[in-house]
Symmetry: C7
Subunit: 74 residues, 7 copies
């Protein structure tokens, strides 16, 4: 059983996740790394808009304080 | 008797809660995990809009600093 | 005599308080718990709008950094 | 001589102060308590708008991070 | 030689300074006290608008996180 | 394997990165330095707008809390 | 070689730098002092607007959390 939120992120390592930012932007990529600030690194990342791929940006570092949600079931 | 706010969240573990974000978005799901930053993980999550299900997103990690309220009586 | 702000909240435990958020929303409920971040749990909570009950939401956890004021004389 | 800002607040204890918030709201009341976060408790508080009393709210706890200024010469 | 920003404020103690806030408001007064959060207390303070005195408010405590700049050469 | 987000930045040292700020501005330059706050220094920096060079600003220090993302694959 | 962002600021001590704030304002002056919060003191400061001098304000203390970028190549 998972008792801490970061356990859920740990279980999602290497899997595709959806990351939504405070400004509404959405990124989908493989969760490569995260830390306690919820800074996140994604691989093979696509930025999405209205459910469609807007651009492919490979590896991306997303600063934690801009993140609203991370969904491992992307 | 509960003396600390996090006790109320602890009592809600495994139960359905409503989470409202600063940008007005609403999520309902089973409270799986939380921490002192009020980072929250929900299971079987639905995003709601005007009282209706907008989309189902399974497991979701919500960053604490975007959260306004959590209501265990959802 | 009360020297610290949290003493005022402590005196209001179990009593009805008005909580106003940064986005203008208002909640009235019995103050069940609070902590140094001013995270607050209310019981028998009503959300109010223009002085009238908008909805009843039972127990609610309000994240401290969204709170502007708490008035024990609600 | 006062070397620290909180000394000025300490000198104002029990006296009427004007507190202005980031959203423009103004409160005048007797300064009952404050802490290092500038959380403040006022007694016999009046909310003011355009220099006039808008409502009387007795005791009020104001969260420090919403406060712009406190003027002991209210 | 000054190596730290607070040294500049220390040199301005007792002198008139201009303080500009994030919301555009401007205050000019004698710098009485400050701390590491840049909380500031001014004496004989005037609020200015478009270069003109808007109101005189005597002593005022300004919370540091609302401040953009402090100019000792006011 | 990289376990921490800052490892991804470390691997990008000396290489061109794209940095996007909360206000939408974009900078491309060689990543010279970063710290745990994600303060960043770029060399040979260009500010970009709509995919085109807006101005060249040589070395630039970008404060971490204004940064949304850093993409080493710029 | 510089490994930390503050090294870049240290190298710019006494030289003219451009400082841009979150609200779009721009200041150019000699970098006199800075600290880990990126609080900055400039000497012989000019505020600029659209590339032109708007006003001269001598010495100015700029609070770090309002700063977006500092460019030593101003």
């Amino acid at each position: 059983m998972e008792a801490r939120p970061l356990d859920a992120l740990n279980n999602a390592r290497g899997k595709n996740v959806l990351v939504e930012l405070k400004n509404g932007r959405q990124f989908v990529g493989a969760l490569k790394a995260f830390d306690i600030h919820i800074n996140v690194v994604l691989d093979n990342t696509e930025e999405r808009e209205n459910g469609q791929t807007k651009r492919k940006i490979g590896t991306v570092f997303l600063r934690g304080d801009t993140i609203i949600l991370i969904s491992p079931s992307a």
